[in-house]
């Protein structure tokens, strides 16, 4: 009952003019960012952060959350219509969404995307509201070994679930963990890797790493490719045709699987919408009723990735709000926004600032409905942003990156650092070292170290504590299993190859 009352108050808060404007702006920006192939949703949220500095905390978080959820939806439009994925999330949409469009059913494909985003988003928002408070209550009983285990699990899954080489992902993660150690150590006050540079004593802000690696790194990558995009077909005939109730009922199990998987993946700190989208498509292709027809332009191939991608947002908000642990790149920025406005998410947040939390929850419901309405009525206008030359967008992305880094501490060294991390981000992408584990390492590194060291101090340097306590032991076992799974799969494939 308390939850319903708080949620109702949250809805009232969302419709306060300033918050509603923030929500609408966030949705529009999120949709535009998702449509533009050179801009990822994480980049978009990063770039929007400095614009929220002077905003009220509720409006700021609502804006960023709206961008996050809208960013999981609109990229599908360009995949379906032009075979250009707006986001990595939308690559699976090329296989069935574009195939459906080529059969002359582009409007239908867009309709399936809309319904999937709506169902996935609303279901995940409901689960988020129902789970957040109980999870926060459980989290109150957690001690440092449990927190360390959860963070370790997040770091392990970002490596094991990601794309590319496992070793490269591990190296990228360790690089991030190492960057997080730069500066004065919390326990001893010792200088670590500062090399006599005064500004490094304050450490390297993870926002600087994110802006550099995700923002500038991507622009450098596109620059090397001369900002060449695939030629677009005419964008005059973009319409959305919703599936009938009977058609939707026929794929209800795909909706259910995609939503459940998206929430679950979102809940895991580290894995985000991209993993959810691919995994959901993969599961549908392996176990779905019409698995043999996947790739030929069927509804299941659109519903599975889209429901999972949008529902992962609700899932990712749970560890962020209840434990202060970001579940994805975008939630890491939202965490940054919370901290910049002086609020530390965690189990206590429901006691101290429940009105803000429930306003954010309510905004997710309104945001999902709002983005679908905008998508239904305005997709044809929003995709016109693709006519804007990418090089102009990129020039302003660089400017926003630099201003964002400067505005955080009014320090030019931070700006130099984002250029450095821009080059590092480019080099990582070029050499096939994924950037996401590095960024997550920088974000979760200090939390991991603090919880590890505190556990060691509290339990007389007994590292088995992590494995002997029931909750932390279970989570650590899951983390190790998630790391072992791809290795076992690789060995099995090699053995099968050798047998042939």
């Amino acid at each position: 009952m308390d939850v319903l009352q708080s949620l109702a108050a949250g809805f009232v808060e969302v419709f306060v003019p300033a918050n509603f404007v923030a929500l609408t702006v966030g949705l529009l920006l999120g949709l535009l960012v998702a449509v533009l192939p050179g801009l990822t949703l994480v980049m978009g949220v990063v770039l929007a952060l400095p614009f929220t500095y002077s905003m009220d905390i509720t409006a700021a978080i609502i804006l960023l959350t709206a961008m996050y959820v809208a960013g999981t939806y609109a990229g599908a439009w360009t995949s379906i219509l032009f075979h250009v994925p707006g986001e990595p999330i939308d690559v699976p949409m090329l296989w069935d969404g574009y195939a459906m469009a080529r059969k002359g059913e582009a409007a239908k494909a867009l309709g399936w995307t809309l319904v999937s985003a709506l169902i996935g988003g609303l279901a995940a928002a409901t689960v988020m509201v129902l789970l957040a408070h109980p999870v926060a209550r459980i989290a109150l009983s957690f001690s440092t070994p449990e927190y360390f285990a959860i963070i370790f699990f997040g770091l392990a899954t970002v490596v094991s679930l990601g794309g590319g080489s496992l070793s490269n992902a591990l190296i990228s993660l360790f690089l991030g963990l190492l960057i997080a150690t730069v500066g004065v150590d919390d326990t001893y006050g010792a200088q670590r890797f500062t090399f006599g540079v005064p500004i490094l004593s304050d450490g390297i802000d993870y926002l600087v790493v994110m802006v550099g690696a995700f923002g500038l790194g991507e622009v450098f990558m596109r620059m090397e490719q001369r900002f060449r995009s695939a030629p677009l077909q005419s964008i005059d005939t973009v319409t959305t045709r919703l599936p009938t109730l009977r058609e939707a009922a026929a794929v209800k199990s795909t909706f259910a699987r995609g939503t459940a998987l998206g929430i679950l993946i979102g809940l895991v700190p580290g894995a985000g919408a991209t993993v959810a989208s691919f995994l959901s498509y993969g599961i549908e292709a392996q176990y779905g009723r019409r698995r043999k027809e996947m790739g030929s332009g069927i509804a299941e191939g659109i519903v599975a990735p889209q429901t999972a991608a949008t529902s992962s947002v609700g899932g990712a908000m749970i560890p962020l709000i209840t434990m202060g642990i970001p579940g994805s790149g975008a939630t890491a920025i939202i965490l940054g926004a919370f901290l910049l406005h002086g609020l530390q998410p965690g189990p206590q947040v429901f006691e101290t600032s429940s009105h803000i939390v429930y306003a954010v929850f309510a905004s997710l419901f309104v945001g999902v409905i709002g983005m679908c309405l905008i998508g239904y009525f305005a997709a044809r206008y929003l995709v016109r942003i693709l006519e804007l030359p990418e090089v102009i967008v990129s020039a302003y992305v660089v400017m926003c990156c630099i201003l964002g880094a400067f505005a955080a501490r009014n320090n030019i060294t931070d700006v130099w650092l984002i250029v450095v991390f821009g080059v590092v981000g480019y080099a990582c992408e070029r050499l096939r070292f994924p950037v996401a584990p590095m960024v997550l390492g920088v974000i979760l590194g200090p939390l991991a170290e603090t919880n590890f060291m505190t556990t060691m101090i509290s339990f007389n340097n007994d590292w088995t504590t992590f494995f002997t306590r029931p909750i932390s032991g279970t989570i650590m076992a899951l983390a190790l299993a998630s790391l072992a799974y791809p290795v076992a799969q690789h060995l099995r494939r090699r053995a099968a190859g050798a047998a042939r």
């Binding site: 326990t187 001369r226 250029v419």
Partner: protein, 187 residues
Amino acid sequence: MRSILLRALPYLLVGAFSVYLYTVAGRIEYHHRAGTLGPDFWPKLVLAVTIAVCLYETLRILLSRGRRSGASGVLQNIVERSEAEHGAGYLHVEARSPLLLAAGIALTAAYVWVIQHLGFFLATAPYVAVFIALGGYRRWALNAATSVLGTLAMMFFFMKVVYVSLPLGREPFAQVTLALMRLMGIR
């Protein structure tokens, strides 16, 4: 052999750098407390695992003569399987331009250096114009308009709406920024 060494090179470099940082971590100064782990423990642990992974990858590449790939994440397997069945998802890049990239990085670095001296407007408008021209956009009038008007709009938005202070620059360039601020009603 050259291609094998090239493939192993990133791991060798990261491994060597990690060894160097490990020695730096060994020199971290602090007051040791008996029975507790020092501030060097965590970075050393991370570096030790990094060195181990780099060593493993280097040996794997050398021993398999670069033919065998290592274990990959779950997502990679799904992508490979799906791409094999339904065609490639990502756009494959045919031509790269390292020169353009180097010019872009140099231009951005120069911009960061110049912005402290010239102030936001005088540094940003030319930066945007040159960036757009470098990117191959040849409609000069539109480029100039985008650069100047866009920079002014950003300046107005950041300083007047979001209240973020932007670099004013040094004298005499600061006078230009201040004059523009007065024109836009920014205090």
